[in-house]
């Protein structure tokens, strides 16, 4: 997620980190680079300009603290500004009414129907009883799509095939929901251009009828400079309450995400990270900023693990990662849980330095590799797993034979494990340092 943007920024930071002191000239150079990276990532050019000005002002104005390198200071400034830009806290759904209504609107093909299904699943898991309402009366088979999703999720879908009047569908849906005791209605509307007045008016009428508590704009993360126009238009016409950003699992550079909050003032509430119903996550600005800067996102990782693992176990894991006491045993456990969690890519991407690792490896190959890793670790004794430093040549040969790999491959695994451990330790240190400076940093 956001690989390209974070890679570019990291290059800039590499230069910044080496700086002994901050001067007008060297900051200007780096900041020009940051601006280019932002523009290249589809960040709205006005937003990029403001961002740069803010960072510059603070970077030059701030007194250099002796104990740390000034470069780190700038990185912290950029991090904080990114958090500002993305919104400062996670915004959840406000659904208090009985029944509550939630509307999904957006351009064609932004992922409204899929998001509707994902949100329904999420709400259902939170103990609500959602009803999906198919209001896309234009696109061929859109209603079938929602119906199929409902069947997969085992959730009810309100469909009136052949009915072209959205308002009538909505009225009947509300009656149906009351009769069937469904307390959240999710309206999946047809895709439309933000400037298509007749169609936008249809949404306005639908809104006035059902008075939704949440009006979410669904936007593709790969949207370019247009994202801001789309959001502003929809916001003006319909007063959106938030945004669902979809397809963040691609390599879209995330500029849309960075610009949205700044221009409309409306928070990003959810992000779509895959094609399956469970691939939706609440949006956490701080974590996202860390992710963009390549600091990893261990909190989200642990949270995801917590869905599959029990809570104590997850906490223990977080602690270990932070202290750099992550052993091969834990690694093995993780490998096994990863399988339960689904997409390998997304999980490794959350580890510090993980996205770099991902970039150089073919995913399928690494899936296979992970299976082999599991085999290798299984061939070790518990003591070896806890203290890999005792692995001498003889032990290595035994393990290689036992798991059917070459010694070189085993060495490779151990090297990579070492690197990962070092990364984690470094992140732990950086975090401590930031805390000493009194800055607000995300928990890792």
């Amino acid at each position: 997620m956001f690989e390209t943007l974070s890679n570019k920024l990291q290059n800039v930071f590499k230069n910044l980190r080496g700086l002994g002191k901050i001067s007008d000239a060297n900051v200007s150079d780096s900041i020009r680079e940051v601006r280019l990276a932002l523009l290249d990532a589809d960040v709205n050019f006005k937003v990029a300009r403001e961002f740069i000005e803010k960072v510059k002002e603070q970077a030059i104005g701030q007194k250099v603290i002796q104990s740390i390198q000034p470069g780190q200071q700038i990185i912290k400034i950029i991090h904080d500004e990114l958090v500002n830009l993305l919104g400062s806290a996670n915004a959840g759904l406000e659904l208090r009414g009985h029944p509550s209504c939630l509307m999904l609107v957006g351009l064609h093909g932004s992922g409204k129907t899929t998001s509707a299904g994902k949100l329904a699943r999420l709400l259902h898991k939170q103990g609500r009883s959602p009803l999906l309402v198919a209001c896309d009366v234009y696109r061929p088979a859109a209603m079938d799509q929602l119906e199929t999703l409902g069947r997969q999720l085992e959730l009810p879908v309100f469909v009136r095939k052949g009915e072209k009047d959205v308002l009538r569908i909505a009225r009947e849906a509300v009656e149906f929901a009351t009769a069937e005791h469904r307390n959240v209605l999710i309206f999946d509307t047809a895709g439309r251009l933000q400037i298509d007045q007749p169609l936008v008016q249809e949404l306005v009428r639908l809104r006035d009828l059902v008075r939704p508590e949440e009006m979410l704009l669904v936007l593709d993360a790969a949207t370019g400079q247009e994202a801001v126009n789309v959001a502003t238009h929809f916001d003006q016409a319909l007063q959106i309450t938030g945004v669902v950003l979809t397809r963040l699992d691609g390599d879209a550079r995330g500029g849309a995400a960075l610009s949205l909050k700044a221009v409309t003032g409306k928070p990003i509430k959810f992000v779509g990270v895959g094609e399956k119903p469970e691939d939706i996550e609440p949006f956490h600005p701080e974590r996202m900023a860390s992710r963009i800067l390549g600091m990893g996102d261990v909190v989200s990782l642990v949270e995801r693990a917590a869905e599959a693992v029990d809570l104590d176990e997850a906490k223990r894991m977080e602690e270990k990662m932070r202290k750099g006491q992550f052993t091969l045993e834990d690694f093995l456990e993780q490998l096994r849980q990863m399988k339960k969690l689904g997409s390998l890519e997304s999980i490794v991407g959350m580890l510090p330095g993980g996205s770099e690792m991902l970039q150089n490896t073919d995913l399928n190959k690494s899936e296979k590799e992970f299976r082999r890793m599991e085999g290798m670790i299984c061939a070790m004794t518990p003591q070896e797993r806890r203290h890999p430093q005792i692995l001498n040549a003889k032990r290595r040969q035994r393990i290689a034979k036992g798991s059917g790999v070459s010694v070189a491959e085993l060495n490779n695994l151990l090297n990579r494990f070492n690197q990962m451990q070092q990364m984690m330790r470094k992140m732990g240190k950086l975090q401590k340092m930031m805390r000493r400076m009194g800055g607000v940093m995300p928990r890792f």
Partner: protein, 309 residues
């Protein structure tokens, strides 16, 4: 409405905005200064031209300014020339085999409009008096098959489909057999949307193409990547990665109606040298138009073509 009008109205917004911006910049500060260049840069970037393409136009403007000494400098003219030059090699005709079946594979990321494009292409071919068949190879997304079938009914085009979860290659294989025995001129293969970063899905696509190629040498004869015009610079990555997996023969740009984008087309063509074959400018079956580079560039920039229709 003729093609040009359609394209023009589709691109009207882009064009209005761009010309307005450029005019504003030029008329206010006729002298080429760092600020006016920066503003020009911002205007181009806002139209999703991308950094490198923008840079090139800026360089060309500066060069022209230096050689002409500022008198008679026409920024719009220079920009038009640049874009036309970049798009010049584009050939937009849909390939047709001398004899027998022509197979066209339609690929792209999710939600760009592949299914709609496949249906529109079939319609286009039918209008020319040729026969077409559609293969519903998106066996993953809910109701994708129904969507294509409905299009088929509407346009009276036969649709070959399998069941959900079936191997898309198997569906393609069946469709090839059916199209062959019914002596169709064209077979349009509608594939599932996939993000270009998903290796396994890209491999699935490669397999599908292998199966097509085994059934009929050189098939698919055309592989069209469908791109959403609202996409920003990520479109370049999409084109790059798809091209790596299955050699593309052209691009289709969809949703060019009314949104102020289009610039990334230039950037993509510039880097990958892929011809842009069609553009989608609306939701109706006939709203798929062959791409004309000169018209496109003119519609983007030229003043004469730009006055309100």
């Amino acid at each position: 409405m003729g093609f040009f009008d359609r394209l023009k109205s589709g691109l009207q917004k882009t064009h209005d905005k761009l010309v307005h911006e450029i005019k504003r910049i030029v008329s206010r500060s006729p002298k080429l200064t760092a600020t006016s260049l920066e503003e020009l840069e911002a205007a181009l970037i806002a139209a999703d031209f991308g950094l490198s393409m923008t840079g090139e136009i800026i360089v060309a403007v500066r060069k022209a300014y230096e050689s002409q000494g500022g008198a008679g400098l026409d920024v719009i003219e220079i920009a038009t020339q640049e874009v036309t030059r970049s798009l010049a090699s584009t050939a937009s005709a849909l390939h047709k085999e001398a004899s027998g079946l022509t197979v066209v594979s339609v690929v792209g990321v999710n939600g760009t409009g592949k299914t709609t494009t496949a249906a529109k292409l079939a319609h286009l071919v039918q209008l020319r008096g040729e026969t077409a068949m559609l293969a519903a190879c998106d066996t993953f997304r809910a109701a994708a098959i129904e969507q294509l079938k409905l299009w088929g009914q509407r346009l009276r085009v036969p649709v070959i489909a399998g069941t959900y979860g079936a191997d898309p290659s198997a569906v393609a294989h069946d469709a090839m057999t059916a199209a062959g025995s019914r002596q169709m001129n064209y077979l349009f293969v509608d594939t599932a949307g996939r993000l270009h970063t998903k290796h396994n899905l890209m491999q699935e696509l490669q397999k599908l193409h292998r199966v097509l190629g085994k059934k009929l040498p050189r098939a698919p004869h055309e592989t069209l990547l469908v791109l959403d015009a609202t996409t920003g610079m990520n479109a370049l990555n999409q084109a790059r990665e798809f091209n790596k997996a299955v050699p593309l023969s052209g691009l289709v740009i969809t949703k060019l109606d009314g949104t102020s984008k289009g610039g990334m087309v230039v950037a993509i063509h510039r880097e990958l040298r892929l011809p842009i074959k069609f553009i989608g400018v609306g939701e109706q079956p006939e709203d798929l138009q062959p791409f004309e580079p000169r018209d496109f560039a003119a519609a983007l920039f030229s003043d004469r073509e730009l006055n309100p229709v």
